[in-house]
């Protein structure tokens, strides 16, 4: 398909602006660019057709089953989009929260921030929430910086290491390192959980914190999570909860009750805000008692005359200029109010049911990465297929041809030929059955017609793309 730049025709316009109603002011030409920016010159219809056609080259949750493990690609309710577009939220200037004088004109927004943070803290079993972090990874960074602020305040100058299991998402070690910590990796046992003895061995006096995901990225609940918390706290190390997998346990158990001190939520996962082709999401955090004094500020508090902002004396500082991705929080708030405390546990119930159902249907044809029941996602390993020359990548591409988005592949790095399947609670049995049928059919093709799988996908606008060429003949922009 042509680039929008290739559709440009000199002199064509899409937007007519108001004629200037004041005298035209001039700036010294040395401060100005010599010629207008070389943007495309196109009509509104050119733009509309271009992006409509581009959109049709995408798979999305609204059109395809999207069982991308670890990403919780659940249905994004239309009512959440509707309320987030309300001009009463969408047109509010962010600096209304910068000066006291403007607090009276944004009471609804401040209440929404307050109530969302309160509900998140309640769901997490924590003391307080904070909407500032703008994605899960940013929440992780906020969390480890909070841990740093805690140790700084306590004079724990020797605390410089964060322990992270080998099954953790790449953002965990990256966030710890980005904050300035050393990272030490803890191996998993063959059963797929963190090796507790190795953790205890590593828990020396230099350890500032431990980052865990529970259920972990193998789809398994960490059986000794509570003991980990006790051991960590015994050496004054704090425990971070990566909330990417919260969909498995929301309303069933709470990270704070499990012993965690700080966590992030991916509002774009558990609370159904759209993933937006990669973002924006929200990585709101919540903290327990130990970290409460250091929370990013300012905070919204409820007072006799309404909602107001308060600074936090020992605050770690600011992760965002305002309340993070606020319009994402509006969507999550709507989702939480829709389900309410009575409805939320059914989210986890059905997410876990669906994953186990798919696991039960597929674990014969594909090797289960780990035995037993799984939580909200199941991990298969295509090692048997790989022996015959068909890899996880080939299976993923064959699924695309059958009208499904592929599972997450080759993550976590601890599982060979990994296919990580997360159906979420919003998928119907028929959809899951169709997907499982396709997976079983592909498993048969491995024996009878493997070449057809190497060629996949053949039904999409492009076939397999040459990634080596992209990196070698680097072309990342069409310059003027």
């Amino acid at each position: 398909m042509e680039l929008i730049y290739e559709k440009s025709r000199s002199g064509r316009r899409a937007v007519a602006l108001e004629p200037l109603d004041v005298p035209e002011a001039e700036l010294n030409s040395e401060l100005c660019r010599p010629a207008a920016a070389p943007l495309p010159e196109v009509s509104e219809l050119d733009v509309v057709r271009h992006f409509t056609l581009l959109s049709q080259r995408n798979y999305g949750v609204d059109s395809q089953f999207y069982p991308l493990g670890s990403c919780t690609m659940k249905y994004n309710p239309k009512v959440s989009e509707l309320v987030a577009a309300h001009p009463g939220f969408a047109t509010l200037h962010p600096h209304l929260s910068s000066a006291k004088v403007y607090e009276p004109v944004c009471q609804g927004a401040l209440e929404l921030v307050f109530e969302t943070e309160r509900m998140l803290a309640e769901i997490g079993g924590m003391q307080a929430g904070c909407l500032q972090p703008m994605a899960g990874a940013h929440g992780e960074l906020a969390g480890v910086l909070l841990i740093a602020a805690y140790h700084r305040d306590k004079g724990n100058t020797h605390k410089r290491t964060i322990l992270i299991p080998d099954s953790a998402h790449g953002t965990n070690p990256a966030s710890a390192a980005m904050a300035g910590f050393e990272v030490r990796e803890i191996p998993s046992t063959p059963a797929g959980v963190m090796d507790f003895d190795k953790l205890v061995e590593a828990l020396d006096d230099t350890v500032a914190g431990v980052m865990m995901t529970c259920p972990n990225t193998h789809g398994l609940f960490e059986p000794q999570v509570h003991e980990v918390a006790e051991r960590a706290h015994a050496v004054d190390a704090l425990l971070y909860y990566d909330g990417a997998n919260l969909n498995a346990i929301v309303g069933k158990c709470r990270p704070g009750d499990l012993g965690f001190d700080v966590m992030h939520f991916n509002l774009h996962k558990t609370f159904a805000t759209p993933h937006g082709m990669g973002g924006p999401g929200s990585g709101a955090i919540a903290v327990g008692e130990r970290l409460l004094p250091y929370l990013p500020g300012p905070r919204v508090v409820k007072s006799a005359d309404g909602y107001t902002l308060e600074t936090i004396p020992k605050s770690m500082g600011r992760m965002a200029a305002f309340f993070g991705n606020f319009l994402i929080a509006v969507r999550a708030y709507a989702f939480l109010r829709y389900y309410g405390g009575d409805g939320l546990p059914s989210v986890a119930d059905n997410a876990v049911l669906n994953a186990n159902y798919m696991f039960a249907r597929l674990r014969g044809a594909y090797q289960a990465a780990f035995e037993g029941t799984c939580m909200h996602e199941c991990l298969l390993s295509a090692v048997r297929q790989a022996d015959k020359g068909i890899h996880a990548l080939d299976i993923a591409k064959a699924l695309l041809d059958r009208g499904f988005h592929a599972p997450t592949i080759y993550f976590p790095l601890t599982v060979k030929e990994c296919l990580m399947i997360e159906p979420t609670e919003t998928e119907s049995k028929e959809t899951m059955d169709l997907f499982c049928d396709a997976m079983l059919e592909i498993a048969q093709l491995v024996d009878v017609d493997p070449d057809s799988l190497h060629a996949a996908p053949v039904t999409l606008p492009v076939s397999r793309l040459d990634e080596v060429r992209a990196a070698k003949d680097l072309n990342c922009a069409c310059l003027a």
Binding site: V15, E18, D21, V22, A25, L27, A37, L39, E44, H50, L54, N58, Y59, Y66, L68, V83, P87, G88, H93, P94, V101, E111, M134, A137, G170, A177, C253, N266, P274, G276, M277, G278, G279, P280, M316, G317, M319, A320, F322, G324, L327, R337, Y339, G340, G341, V352, N354, N356, T373, T426, L460, P461, S463, D466, R469, A470, N475, C476, A477, A480
Partner: protein
């Protein structure tokens, strides 16, 4: 629950396939003692009740005010096509393009966005987006440290003070030396903002030269709409250019989601954080797009990655691209020109009774010193239907009487006159 489709009889059948008796059996791994005991959550609402509740909350925000508030975030016109097109669910319900063959819409749009950023800012490469302007500035600072193997980050007084605070927060445990000023000697980078936080426009080309001579990278924070008119970061010798992309078709939204723009010279591309889309060919020789240079990223490099960023702000980048395509070169020039002309008109009216604090020409925002506390003046002007501006003391950037006033193309001459009259009256009494 209407968003959960599995029926009771299907549930029984599924449990049979799994080989357990109840859904609770699937949670056996969660120790009994750690299960939830109850919580303080509101009960669920129907969609009808939810919408009424949200309308009531929204109604407690006042949005019919004439807006002169800026401070890095501006009330610009957004063409209807931006909402219509970015609201297509094929875009917004997709995720990161891990499977490029079924994500060419996403990938081509990001490639076109990267191209638009380069064309706008006079740079050679750009990433697929970061969270917002403040985090983009932090990423630029650490990128400069990586590229130069130096640890001093010099922040000029022109930089947004809130972003400066964000930089300090994000770097709290990194052994960096973050200093104020503009001295490039021994520095990893010097960061300047143009127009400055107070709206002043400068040509920083000399500083760019001095940075080059000292081996420091030159980081320029820009306002994307101003580049309809102003000299680009590239033309000033910027090695890295970053911006808050909100003004490119994103609603103000009480703080987000916004768009962190980061562009650089091509020789620095391997030091860049975040996703990058590149062009390539498929097996049949057709053009296509993929995520490239991924060996910089967390999912491959883990603790050695350039950044921890995973989810970014792709949909906001798409909106920015659509906005720039709809505006085109002439539309963006006219928008910038209208912002500037209207701001100059208002500035000259206000200058007649309150001193302007900027030490040079301004683009579409300027600071004035009022004879009364700015918060008091803003409170009185609220009553007259104006968001009068940002009291600078509230963000630690001025004295009690200092007010930052922004003007966009949306303000009419009648609004400017009414605002100037009201401000004068509130500041100087009623004898106009």
């Amino acid at each position: 629950m209407t968003w959960i489709p599995v029926t009771d009889s299907e549930r029984e059948e599924m449990l049979g396939t799994i080989g357990v008796n109840s859904v609770e059996d699937l949670f056996a791994a969660v120790p009994e003692a750690l299960r939830m005991r109850g919580w303080d959550m509101p009960p669920g609402l129907s969609e009808m009740a939810l919408r009424a509740h949200m309308d009531a909350l929204a109604a407690r925000n006042k949005t019919d005010l004439s807006c002169f508030l800026g401070g890095g975030y501006y009330d610009h016109f957004i063409p209807a096509a931006v909402d219509a097109l970015s609201g297509r669910s094929e875009f917004f319900t997709a995720y990161t393009p891990y499977q490029p063959e079924c994500a060419q819409g996403t990938l081509q749009s990001i490639y076109e966005y990267q191209s638009a950023v380069c064309r706008l800012a006079g740079m050679e490469c750009a990433n697929a987006s970061l969270y917002d302007g403040g985090t983009a500035m932090f990423e630029a600072a650490t990128m400069a440290c990586r590229a130069t193997c130096r640890t001093r980050v010099v922040v000029d007084g022109s930089v947004n003070p809130v972003w400066r605070r964000m930089l300090l927060t994000h770097c709290a445990k990194l052994e960096l030396d973050i200093v104020d000023g503009a001295d490039p000697e021994g520095a990893a980078c010097v960061i300047v903002q143009n127009p400055s936080f107070l709206g002043t426009v400068r040509d920083f080309a000399d500083l760019g030269e001095r940075c080059r001579a000292a081996g420091a990278l030159f980081v320029v924070v820009f306002n994307p709409v101003s580049l309809g008119m102003l000299k680009t970061p590239g033309a000033m010798g910027a090695d890295i250019a970053v911006a808050e992309g909100q003004s490119l078709g994103l609603p103000l939204g009480f703080g987000g989601p916004y768009l962190g723009i980061l562009a650089a010279r091509k020789k620095l591309i391997r030091k860049m954080p975040g996703r990058i889309v590149g062009e390539t060919l498929d097996a049949q020789g057709r053009r296509g797009f993929v995520l490239t240079l991924q060996a910089r990223e967390q999912h491959i490099r883990r603790e050695k990655a350039n950044s921890n960023i995973c989810s970014n702000q792709a949909l906001c980048a798409l909106r920015a691209l659509m906005y720039l395509c709809l505006m085109g070169p002439e539309g963006l020039r006219q928008t910038a020109q209208a912002c500037h002309s209207k701001a100059e008109y208002l500035k000259s009216r206000i200058a007649a009774f309150a001193p302007v604090l900027n030490d040079g020409p301004t683009f579409h925002e300027f600071a004035v010193r009022l004879p009364r506390p700015a918060e008091t003046v803003c409170a009185e002007l609220l009553g007259r239907g104006f968001l009068a501006g940002l009291p600078l003391a509230a963000v630690g950037a001025g004295e009690a009487g200092d007010l930052l006033v922004a003007v966009t193309e949306k303000r009419t001459r009648a609004e400017l006159d009414a605002y100037a009259d009201a401000l004068k009256e509130v500041c100087c009494g009623t004898d106009l």
